[in-house]
Amino acid sequence: MTQGTIDAEFAKICHEMILANEIPNPDMLDTYVKQYPQYSVELTDFAVALALDVLAPLYEEVDDAPERATPAVSRTMSHFQNALFDAQQKGDVRRLETKQVLAHMQNAANPIAALSKAGFKGFACRLDVNSVLAAKLRDRQIASDTMPAAFITMVAQCIPEDIDIVAAHLMAAPDQTLRARQFHKADGKPGNSEQESFEDAVKNSGLTEDQKRKLLAY
């Protein structure tokens, strides 16, 4: 199963939840989580966000999605805007914050996070970077508009994953890893929302001089 298939699957679940046209309830969520345990955290967060959209529309849970979109991201956004339009046409009275919903969609697609431990180490090795930089790529801490296209292509090859998926991933908002921490004191408040430029990331990730040179040559 490719990351693309996974993304589509997750998108489908979220679509279903939106179209159910009701405030998500525990039973519904349990059913989805049982079926898709790999998305338990994301599904719970999404259900909460949907509920808040209806019950407390001013509640801010996540950061805004990035303004610029790659073609892949655009296709993704387009898909859900259609779903949103359909829902509204059917008289869905909920006021959905598109950005919030899409942010959840986008956060679900992380081809690097989906790798096993061995897969991650292999990815880093093939890309000839250390785990620090690989994690920055995984966590979207490098501004995608500063990344050379050739580097993005290499990243996709090293995963391996479809370039569109990888591009969409890199374009998305920084991954809110803290959402996975059930017991964190501030629910939904990200521990990392910052990004740095590609050049800075190369320089301060503890890479060898040789590795830095190769990366900056992209």
């Binding site: 405030i23 998500p24 309830n25 525990p26 039973d27 969520l29 349990d30 989580v33 049982k34 345990p37 338990s40 955290v41 719970t44 259900a47 909460v48 509920a51 808040l52 019950l55 407390a56 509640y59 996070a113 790798l115 431990k117 991650f120 180490k121 880093a124 250390n130 785990s131 620090v132 690989a134 994690a135 920055k136 995984r138 966590d139 801490q141 890893t177 803290l178 996975a180 921490r181 059930q182 017991f183 964190h184 004191k185 501030a186 629910d187 521990g191 990392n192 910052e194 990004q195 740095e196 990331a201 301060n204 990730s205 503890g206």
Partner: protein, 1141 residues
């Protein structure tokens, strides 16, 4: 084995593997790098602020097996960060990021069970960070290593810190854990009840789905096992562990659940939220602080803090019914309890007032009911002001953790739905302990309760003072109409005889109303014996009987640690603990922490740093390290008092004093060195850590002893050190002064009960467990001893309520008057306590009672004994006793030589009678520290100063009222509590007495009171009358003046006999002795018959004889002791005699 020992073992194991790689194990960075290699991890040091750190100091990334740390601080600081993350890597699943607050290797495994720590430590994140800290500490500096460095190599904490580069706080905490907590060894684990094979009642409970469920679980039926099994099955069915919420009522129960879940579901346990209702409430407050209009992390006030809040706003409190001029704090405690109880019922100040007004408006209310209504209105007003004061401090109290959250959940659909989505499967342990507020909180989250599962036993509901009520068990069907209610059927714990005994009680218990009938099959089968009842005449005999029974069971193979003595009260527990220890039986009992000798030694050390007169020397001198004689201590004390500098500044001069013994001089020199560099503004923790680890051998010696008493002493000190780490934000003065004041207040208000809990790390010691019945809840023992089964003792007599709630406040009490409802609740709780006590035993249940009261009257047996069928209770007709060893019976007389001009006066003799030990400290050793008196005592001091002025003035002329007021005002503004909240009340009280004192002088010509010597067989008492003179009609008189009121049997007090005898000694008639009481304006002749005089003379003779024999025993009183200036040094006296000359 406690959970932290498992963690320490993991850390030691990794340390061993790393240290085996040919490195310097005291080089922290080498050590962590070796461990990184050993585990195959990647380590990266990054500049502070590096984006990869995600705003944390360090993190562990599971996917990449990578630890990233900030490259700042010393090498050892960085090694500590790495070690903390290693802890996460080894112990916990998942990636984690740690802030500066998270990484604190100096944090103790168990914080003092007071205040915020009582609530906070059981949040899952907090628990994991604490575990990582304990791991880090043990990994970097294993207990065995630190112990060796300190005890064998003789290094102090500072030297070890210097050698390793670790922070001093980390080294200290590790040393305290290693030296003071008893080491674990194989075979220390207790056996538990047998594991069930097939239990249909448990299985049904585990698989139940689709409707709210209440499981009624009698004692020993495996309710925790059932709860754990249910969680396992839920997870196996695909339920997200993160959606499971498990709530209970005590940190101990929560900790046990976490341990068992971690054992059964190692990969999922950390995702399940397990904790107390209060911890959950705190988490929700922190999550939704903005909606609640709090700061992100509001401070949490415990009961002491709440009382301090009220004391701070005392001037504004409209106290009339609840005013206690003698000691305002005493009544404030009751007021806070009333407010807390209101919050347990979700009653805010406005609702409280409405209920009280309704009482006031009742047309049928008689005078008593109107007074009750007024009292409730007063509480309503105070509640209002209290809430405003707490809010203005941005704080919350314990009641708020449930009440505020419940009201939010009930009113805010968004917050409620969020909670329901995140916590979809809710399990509640000990449901019988739920109060109305927590029941409603649960309802708000559980909705229709389809996924709610609760377990409890109404017959074990013993926390009614917290608002818990078995009514909530009964109301479950009302709260959740589709509820299914079942019960567990098999008892795995106790023998059939014991099960039979406690189940026979069940039908008679009030708590059984509305519950399924208790029917238990005892899986263990028949035990070795029936429960037994032994009767003894006195409590001393009862103690001896228990000791014999304990030893008898030990001889028959029941280890000390498998036996428990369960008492109804702490007082009795302390007496039995002393009695068992005196007979060489080891006991696991901390008792009242601040009243232990070893802790008082440390409190005296602290006191010496801040008390300008250094009275603490009397106790400190007795410590073997200093070896002062009583005379040495006296001389040192007199010297300090003669100086104008505080004791701390004089220490270096003390060893040069004339008259010291050689050992005393050496001891004082050592003391001066031990206190070098200490200043009065040092914190208690800093002083004690330095004193124990760097200056003395206290910890070293305790660590090397295998005696249980030494090990308990070490545990007590560990517990106390934990307590001193937390600084109170209330009070005035230096940190140590504030802490000492807090200790006094905690003892006075009985707030130190939680500190009596033996830390988990010490529970494996082979010693008899002593605890109250309350403390035994959830535990079981091979043998249980329950003393005190006499009327008025168990059950305890009902003592009424100081601050009764308004009618209608307590749900479930409708139909009963408030006093009747309270009395019923008390009776039910006593029944439940007895039920709990009986059901703790596995094989042996020994009951005891005394047949005589202290005065010799007969004592009836407890009514509960009649509930046990005679066929199930063996009466021990000739119960044996274990005598005390001979040397335990010594009287501890002190040889005293007073100055030639020292006399036993009437005042001193009264002081001796009240407390001979206090008398000894005050009048023989002439101690009396400069601590803060109460406003009441200050007012009294002013009055007596005025009376002395009046006495002088009257020798020449009788001052009029104006002159008297002027004189009193001078005294008042010099010494009185004129800036106190009740200043005007105290002033009014005092000036009324001034008035009468002046009036009572009319018609009397006064002379200088002469000292009259009254001679007895055993000594002479010098009576200095308050007044002496001549009255117009009565002639020459000597008069005793008291500020208080005249009691009914006033002249039973032997001091009046002294006045009569003094009159005789002065050649006056008996009628010359008179008494004046200023409060109720009574002036009269002292009237005593010859028989009465003879009886009182006999009493005085006894007092004088005891004094002459040097007997100065302590007289413990829970109210006067904490107020006594000698509280911290009592009852220590160095050996030897004392001469005042």
């Amino acid at each position: 084995m406690d959970a932290f020992e498992t963690i320490r073992q993991s850390a030691r194991e990794l340390h061993g593997r790393a240290a085996s790689k040919d490195i310097d194990a005291l080089d922290m960075m080498q050590l962590v790098k070796a461990a990184i290699d050993e585990l195959g991890l990647e380590l990266n040091f990054l500049e502070p602020g590096n984006i990869a750190l995600k705003n944390s100091k360090a993190l562990f990334d599971e996917q990449s097996d990578m630890i990233c740390c900030e490259n700042s601080g010393s090498t050892a600081d960085r090694a500590l960060l790495v070690a903390h993350e290693l802890g996460h890597a080894v112990l916990h699943a998942g990636s984690v990021q740690c802030s500066e607050e998270d990484v604190d290797a100096a944090s103790s495994m168990e914080s003092a069970p007071v205040g915020l720590q009582r609530v906070e430590d059981y949040g899952a994140k907090e628990r994991r960070e604490l575990q990582a800290n304990v791991f880090a500490r043990e990994f970097l500096l294993p207990g065995e290593t630190s112990r060796h460095l300190h005890t064998v190599d003789g290094l102090s904490a500072r030297e070890i810190a210097s050698r390793t580069g670790l922070q001093l706080g980390t080294v200290r905490q590790q040393l305290f854990d290693a030296l003071l907590l008893p080491a674990y060894s194989d075979g220390d684990d207790s056996e538990t009840s047998c594991v069930p094979i097939d239990d249909a009642s448990q299985d049904r409970a585990v698989v139940h789905r689709g409707a709210p469920y209440q499981l009624q679980a009698g004692p020993g039926t495996g309710k925790t096992r059932t709860l754990i099994k249910r969680i396992e099955v839920l997870v196996a069915e695909g339920i997200d562990p993160a959606s499971i919420l498990v709530l209970t009522f005590s940190n101990r129960a929560a900790g046990e659940l976490v341990e068992r879940l971690t054992d059964r579901l190692p990969d999922d346990a950390s995702k399940i939220w397990v904790g107390t209702f209060h911890a959950f409430g705190l988490e929700l407050i922190r999550k939704h602080y903005d909606v609640l209009e709090f700061s992100p992390n509001p401070p949490l006030f415990d009961r002491s803090d709440a009382i301090n809040v009220l004391q701070d706003i005392l001037p504004t409190l409209p106290l009339e019914h609840y005013r206690n001029l003698w000691d305002p704090a005493m009544v404030l405690r009751d007021v806070i309890s009333a407010i807390s109880r209101a919050k347990d019922e979700l009653i805010d100040p406005q609702q409280y007032r409405r209920l009280a007004e309704s009482m006031r408006g009742d047309p049928q209310a008689d005078d008593n009911k109107l007074i009750a209504a007024d009292k409730c209105l007063e509480i309503a007003d105070i509640y209002d002001l209290y809430e405003a004061a707490v809010r203005s401090r941005g704080a919350v109290d314990f009641g708020d953790l449930i009440m505020r959250v419940t009201l939010l959940l009930e009113s805010d659909a968004a917050v409620r739905q969020q909670c329901r989505l995140r916590h979809r499967h809710i399990l509640v342990d000990e449901y019988q302990d739920v109060n109305r507020a927590s029941a409603r909180m649960l309802k708000a989250i559980a909705g229709n309760g389809e996924r709610l599962w609760v377990v409890g036993d109404a017959r074990q509901s013993i926390y009614r003072f917290r608002g818990a009520s078995s009514a909530n068990m009964i109301k479950f069907s009302e709260d959740y109409p589709d509820a299914v209610i079942e019960q567990l059927k098999i008892n795995y714990r106790s023998s059939s005889q014991i099960v039979g005994a406690f189940t026979s009680m069940a039908p008679k218990m009030g708590a059984s109303a509305g519950m399924l009938a208790l029917s238990l099959h005892p899986q263990s089968g028949e035990g070795p014996s029936l429960p037994s009842l032994s009767e003894f005449e006195t409590e001393r005999d009862e103690e001896a009987g228990i000791a014999h029974a304990v030893e008898d069971l030990k001889t028959n193979g029941v280890r000390y640690r498998d036996q428990a003595v369960l008492c109804r009260s702490n007082r009795r527990l302390g007496e039995i603990a002393s009695a068992l220890e005196a007979r060489g039986i080891p006991v696991l009992h901390l008792g009242s922490l601040f009243e232990r000798d070893d802790i008082r030694d440390l409190l005296s050390i602290l006191s010496l740093a801040v008390d300008p007169f250094g009275d603490a020397l009397v106790r400190i001198g007795r410590m073997p390290r200093y070896g002062l004689t009583l005379q040495d201590a006296y001389l040192a004390s007199r010297f300090i008092r003669s100086q104008e500098t505080p004791a701390l500044a004089c220490l270096s001069e003390l060893s040069e004093l004339e008259g010291l013994s050689d050992a005393g001089a050496a001891g004082l020199a050592r003391l001066s060195v031990d206190f070098e560099g200490v200043t009065a503004d040092i914190s208690a923790w800093e002083l004690l850590s330095t004193y124990i680890l760097d200056r003395t051998d206290i910890a070293r010696d305790l660590a090397q002893s295998s005696e249980i008493t030494a090990q308990m002493s070490a545990v007590a000190i560990w517990q106390f050190l934990n307590f001193t780490r937390e600084q109170t934000q209330f009070g005035s003065g230096n940190p140590i002064e504030r802490m000492l004041d807090r200790v006094r207040q905690m003892v006075l208000l009985a707030e130190e009960r939680d500190l009596r809990q033996v830390p988990a790390s010490a529970l494996h010691l082979d010693a008899v467990r002593l605890m109250t019945v309350h403390g035994s809840k959830g535990l079981e023992f091979e043998a249980v001893h329950v003393p005190g089964l006499s009327a008025a003792s168990f059950p305890l007599s009902y003592r009424g309520q100081r601050c009764p709630p308004p009618i209608g406040m307590i749900e479930g009490d409708q139909g009963l008057s408030v006093p009747a409802a309270a009395k019923r609740a008390h009776a039910m709780e006593e029944e439940c306590l007895f039920f709990v006590a009986m059901s703790r035993a596995r094989e042996y249940l020994r009951l005891y009672r005394t047949t005589k009261q202290k005065g010799g009257n007969n004592r009836s047996p407890s009514s509960f004994l009649g509930w046990i069928p005679s066929a199930l209770l063996q009466q021990e007709s000739a119960a044996q006793q274990m005598a005390l060893p001979e040397d335990a019976q010594s009287c501890g007389a002190i040889e005293v030589h007073v100055d030639d001009d020292w006399h036993m006066t009437e005042t001193r003799l009264i002081s001796y009678q009240n407390c001979p030990r206090r008398f000894f400290y005050t009048h023989i050793l002439k101690l009396g520290s400069a601590r803060k008196p109460t406003p009441f005592s200050l007012t009294h001091d002013c009055l007596y100063a005025f009376l002395r002025w009046l006495q002088r003035e009257r020798l020449t002329a009788n001052p009029d009222t104006a002159a008297a007021y002027a004189a009193f005002d001078n005294i008042w503004y010099d010494k009185g509590p004129h800036d106190h909240a009740f200043a005007s009340e105290y002033y009014a009280l005092a000036t009324r007495l001034v008035d009468y004192a002046v009036i009572a002088g009319a018609g009397v010509s006064f002379v200088e009171p002469a000292m009259h010597e009254v001679t007895f067989q055993n000594g002479t008492v010098h009576v200095a009358p308050s007044e002496q003179g001549r009255m117009l009609e009565q002639g020459d008189i000597i008069r005793r003046v008291r500020t208080g009121y005249r009691r009914k049997k006033e002249f039973d007090d032997w001091t009046y006999t002294l006045y009569v005898l003094a009159a005789r000694a002065a050649g006056l008639s008996d009628g010359a002795a008179r008494a004046l009481h200023l409060t109720d304006d009574v002036e009269e002749q002292v009237s005593l018959s010859a028989t009465q005089i003879n009886n009182r003379v006999a009493k005085i003779e006894t007092l004088l004889s005891d004094f002459a024999l040097g007997l100065f025993p302590i007289d413990v009183d829970p109210v006067t002791c904490p107020r006594c200036p000698h509280f911290f040094i009592c009852d220590a006296v160095p050996s030897g005699s004392v001469s005042q000359a």
